[in-house]
């Protein structure tokens, strides 16, 4: 019994040690699931495709940070809100917008990323001619309140064969 009582303080020390270790573990950031983050960024792109193709300006703008900028290949820089409204107003209704990712890089902290690839806009112009334009893009993304947002974007002039096709 005496020996048992002697061990109690030691047991208390072990418990305190364990508790400190647990608290330290709880304050450590959980590991980021980079594959899941990449999926989330690609899902954002899927949403962008749908919103742009549907002509839903507000839904597209909701995918940008509040101070996002968009740089056109001609060197024009504008707040994303203005640039997106202009681009979408100039795109014939019914056009489709598709994105092909080439590379998505995410920080190990899961709060910053960039993505590059191509996007294609296809549709029918008011004069009846169909068109398909593919551009390269590079975007910087930030996670804001748990959601990925476009922060800085730039795109190239159309690449490849972008000549308008004859209407059937």
């Amino acid at each position: 019994m005496h020996r048992f009582l002697t061990l109690i303080p030691a047991a208390a020390l072990v418990l305190a040690c364990q508790q400190a270790a647990t608290e330290q573990a709880e304050t450590t950031e959980p590991a980021v699931d980079l594959a899941a983050e990449e999926q989330a960024i690609h899902a954002l792109a899927d949403g962008y495709e749908e919103a742009f193709s549907a002509g839903n300006v507000d839904a597209v703008l909701a995918m940008y940070t509040s101070d996002a900028t968009e740089n056109s290949p001609d060197g024009t820089a504008a707040p994303a809100a203005d640039a997106v409204r202009t681009t979408m107003s100039q795109t014939p209704p019914g056009s489709t917008f598709t994105i092909e990712h080439e590379k998505t890089v995410i920080s190990s902290s899961g709060d910053l990323a960039y993505d590059m690839g191509t996007f294609t806009i296809a549709g029918t112009a008011p004069d009846g001619q169909t068109f398909t334009e593919t551009h390269r893009y590079l975007v910087g993304l930030e996670k804001v309140d748990g959601a990925w947002k476009l922060d800085a974007t730039m795109s190239s002039m159309p690449v490849g064969a972008a000549a308008p096709a004859e209407a059937p």
């Binding site: 040690c17 001609d74 590379k103 910053l112 390269r136 590079l138 800085a152 190239s156």
Partner: protein, 178 residues
């Protein structure tokens, strides 16, 4: 007193084990990143790049890029990898005269983990030929960065625009020959 002598070694053992456990845990955790310092390091990279450019040091310039870096121009053409960048700088520096670049970072964003970042800004390239003619062009860009295992930031890619309309060198300037 006897109780003290009995407990002291035990307590010391537990204490040492606890400290060791804490030290091991701390060693496996990522160190806290000074994001402001990392942003400064990215800006310093631009300064260093300017110096290498002015020195026409092609190999130093190639060393600023990761081996798989890709740069996309406004017309969609791309420069990729060390060979691609080496060829680009070799062509650019083939003419006699001086060439400088002035990089103005507007935003520099670095992840909390300090391993990925991007920057927006402008770059002005000024070329002065041996007969005194000067041409200058300013373009806007996005540049992406990653920090290597050696602790060095490198460019992983980027994209630039056509010369800006307000660029003083959107059209060639001619200075009188000395």
């Amino acid at each position: 007193m006897r109780k003290f002598f009995l407990l002291a070694p035990l307590a010391a053992l537990v204490f040492v084990a606890c400290e060791q456990q804490a030290a091991e845990q701390a060693a496996t955790e990522e160190p806290v990143v000074d994001v402001a310092a990392e942003e400064q390091a990215v800006r310093a990279l631009a300064d260093s790049y300017e110096q290498s450019f002015a020195a026409k040091d092609t190999e130093a310039l190639v060393g600023y890029y990761t081996p798989d870096a890709v740069w996309t121009a406004h017309d969609g053409t791309r420069t990729e990898g060390a060979d691609g960048f080496r060829a680009q700088y070799t062509t650019m520096f083939a003419s006699p005269g001086t060439a400088t670049i002035e990089i103005e970072p507007e935003t520099v964003v670095v992840a909390a983990s300090g391993d990925v970042g991007y920057s927006t800004g402008t770059g002005t390239v000024t070329v002065t030929t041996t007969d005194g003619q000067t041409m200058s062009q300013t373009t806007a860009h996005i540049v992406t960065f990653a920090k290597g295992d050696d602790g060095q930031w490198r460019l992983t890619g980027g994209m630039d625009t056509a010369p800006l309309a307000a660029s003083p060198g959107a059209e060639a300037e001619t200075a009188p020959a000395e």
